[in-house]
């Protein structure tokens, strides 16, 4: 329990330090957050002054920082300059589909990816291992936007099997739940496959290496010698001991899936947090950028915390020091 409390406190401190750094880094970016508003119609100087006051951009940086932190503690990240709407509303609007896409990809990586990694280790050096290595590395080396576009060209444009973009078809009002679920799944398929294809290699490679290490351990040989079934030896002994090092990947993956799917989101018009953050960064929309930063920081800290906890659960030496 002490270990857990210490680890939780460490996570909170890390988050505070990260947010402080992010706040000042964002403010040091070149550009003016109000400039984007004058893209279509120029603003008068009076309007610019008024907006500066409204968004507290005329205040000293320290005052702005205190306002941001106190607001963030209340869950209020201010109003987006670009959209003129509360940041929290914008983030919450996009979060569900980011979580949906991220969760599916995470599920694929940590089920299929790990299983394939184990198969590679068991067939080390044989054709299956070589084939899977080639395929996974090809996926890893492929730019996600290119793969996405190719899939759109094949599955949407040429064969009309799946939708090219978006998260839902318009015009389904009043449709049954089954139609709506099917529609969402059809829209999810290509972006999830694209993201999984370019990311599954790392979980496979990690799992393969950890599993090969585990298979070399004396206790695995001892388990085999005791006459346990191969399945029991592989999954009950070797895989369990290989798992903790792979779980650290989970901590790394969580933030990437929250804000890192920018290209895939753009190609498939999957309007999630990634594209929102990229747009906010380009427009220097400080409140929105910081709102996304809070989310990303929370994802990093939570991911790392969760992987430590899982690690500790699987390996008691971690929590006993």
């Amino acid at each position: 329990m002490t270990w857990l409390a210490r680890r939780a406190l460490q996570a909170v401190v890390t988050a505070l330090i990260a947010l402080t750094l992010l706040f000042f880094l964002v403010r040091s970016l070149p550009g003016d957050p109000l400039a984007i508003l004058s893209e279509d119609r120029p603003l008068t100087s009076a309007q610019v002054q008024d907006l500066r006051r409204r968004y507290q951009l005329d205040q000293p940086l320290g005052t702005q920082f205190v306002a941001f932190m106190t607001g963030a503690l209340r869950g209020d990240f201010g109003t987006s300059i670009q959209y003129g709407r509360p940041v929290r509303q914008l983030v919450l609007e996009r979060l569900p589909r980011t979580i949906l896409l991220g969760a599916v990809v995470l599920l694929i990586n940590f089920t299929l990816g790990l299983w394939l990694g184990v198969q590679q280790a068991l067939h080390r050096g044989r054709p299956l291992d070589r084939l899977l290595t080639t395929l996974s590395l090809a996926g890893y080396a492929m730019p996600s936007f290119w793969l996405g576009l190719m899939l759109v060209m094949a599955f949407a444009v040429r064969w009309h099997w799946l939708p090219a973009a978006g998260a839902q078809d318009p015009g389904l009002e009043g449709a049954g739940i089954l139609t709506i679920v099917t529609d969402r799944l059809r829209h999810l398929l290509l972006p999830a496959f694209t993201l999984a294809a370019v990311s599954i290699a790392s979980s496979m490679r990690y799992q393969r290496a950890a599993m090969m290490d585990a298979l070399r351990q004396p206790y695995v040989a001892a388990a085999s010698a005791r006459g346990l079934t191969r399945r029991r030896v592989v999954w009950g002994h070797a895989w369990r001991s290989a798992l903790p090092s792979v779980l650290t990947l989970f901590g790394l993956w969580l933030p990437i899936l929250v804000v890192g799917a920018v290209f895939v989101e753009q190609v498939f018009a999957w309007q999630g947090i990634g594209s929102l953050t990229a747009g906010a960064a380009a427009a220097r929309d400080y409140p929105l950028l910081m709102g996304s930063a809070v989310l990303a920081t929370a994802a990093v800290v939570t991911g790392s915390f969760l992987s430590d906890v899982l690690h500790a659960l699987l390996d008691p030496r971690v929590r006993t020091g």
Binding site: P30, G31, D32, A35, I36, S38, E39, D40, R41, P42, L43, T44, S45, A46, Q47, D50, Y83, G84, R85, E93, R94, R97, L112, Q119, L149, M153, F155, A156, V157, W159, H160, W161, L162, P163, A164, A165, G166, A167, Q168, D169, P170, G171, L172, E173, T179, T182, D183, L185, R186, L189, Q266, V267, F268, A269, Q271, G279, A282, A283, R284, D285
Partner: protein, 536 residues
Amino acid sequence: MLRRCGRLLLLMMAGLSATGAAQSTPASPRRLVIAIGQSITNIVPTLNRSAAAMQISDLVFLRLGRYGGTSFGDHAAVPELAKGWTRRDSLTIAFDLDPRARWHDGTAVTARDVVYSFGRARDPKQSASTAMLLVDVAGVQAEGNNRVVIRFSRAYGEQLYDATYHVQILPAHLVAGIPADSLATSAFAQNPVGNGPYRWDRLEPTDYLQLRSVPDFFLGKPGIEQLVWRFTSSQETRLGMLLSGEADVQEDLIPPLSNLGRLAERPSLRAVNFPSMSVNYLLFNERTPGDTGRPHPIFADREVRRALTMGLDRATLSQALFVKYATPASSPAPRAAWFGALAPSPLEFNAREAIRILAARGWKDSDGDGVLDRNGAPFAFNLMVPTSSAARMQLALIVQEQWRRLGLKVELVPLELGDYLARRRPGNFDVATESFSSDPSPWSLIDRWGCSGEANYGRYCNRTADSLLRAAHLAQRDPAPAIRGWLRTVALDFPAVFLFAPDKVYAMPKAYGNVTFQVESPWQRVWTWTLPSAGR
């Protein structure tokens, strides 16, 4: 095991594809799906700022009259909410509302709505940009339920245009009770009630906006039942949606030109073009970047600007980017504007003459390094370009190469849009790749090219030009001579290299009839389109 999983995955995909194959094609030919690059969150007049939102807003909220093809005189508008108007004297116009006009909740449109809407539009706290445009409106009064009288503080030729073009009418019975600063977050903004041919239906803020036709619209029944705008920032994806049948119309099809060829993949589509209100130009900064008090060391010289204009082969440039869908420009006047025809002819490309002019101004390659120099300083400058526009990036590369042949050292400075705009406002650039869409009134250009214009980022100033434009604005008879004089003066000052006026090129189904696009607001007349005789 591996084979089992693979089979299961294929089976799932096949199942999902089969169940949804019919859905990926719009279900009804009575629905037009338009793929656009921006997200729309609000279409309420005075609250929205994006061009796309304003264009959609035109289908829901009407004006007293729509733009009539000129901004001058008493034919500057065509009746819309007002069935007609009478000029009482040089300062007063009375508008008679069409008694058939109704809000989408069934309430009649009244003079009170018009008075309220003008009040809101003229209040700088609620709508600063429109308030500036309506500075000559002295008062708006209701005379009974169906007549509104607008008084102007002075006599000028664009009174009718000002009274009709800038103000969309809002329902006073729904909006007047909402505090001005809460309108953006009000229930009305989430579910606006208008008076146009289409009513607000549904907004999925990240995906699409849907409007539904108003069958008993007082000017006629719209031909298309549903209009859907799908938001997709990637142009490649928009094209994918078009070719897969998920969208019917794609705005801004070119550049890249390759998109024209790819339209052939869906034979039911065609490319439609119409002149736009845009002009693309390379803006010279006439002041030193970072010190607007001092003239620019290179571009303060009009002759140098002239040489750089002559040294660009604009015909080749526009051909490379737009093939036949652009016209070389000589001034800020857009081709689609009524005053576009008054612009002088563009300067001919003549690289030899450009080099001669530069040499006469002291710019020669004295050290043989291929770059002109004067007093030891090379002819080097930066060309700022926003990375958000692939067309402008491509344009900048061609310009860089063409100017290199003159002996100029051009450094491209690609910037994210926010950074680009932030550097443009205080004048932290040498040359900027600009594109500007103006209103149909020449007076709207004073902001960009007038000495005290808020958007005059290049700090160009010619008092004579300003006087000519002001004279045109105030003209009560024929403004053409003053406008012609203004355009000629600006063209000869070379505050920018006016490159070309591009057309709007849309991809859309061949089957639709009576297709017309309004140059100032393309979707305004979509309700008059006729349905295809067969499905898609």
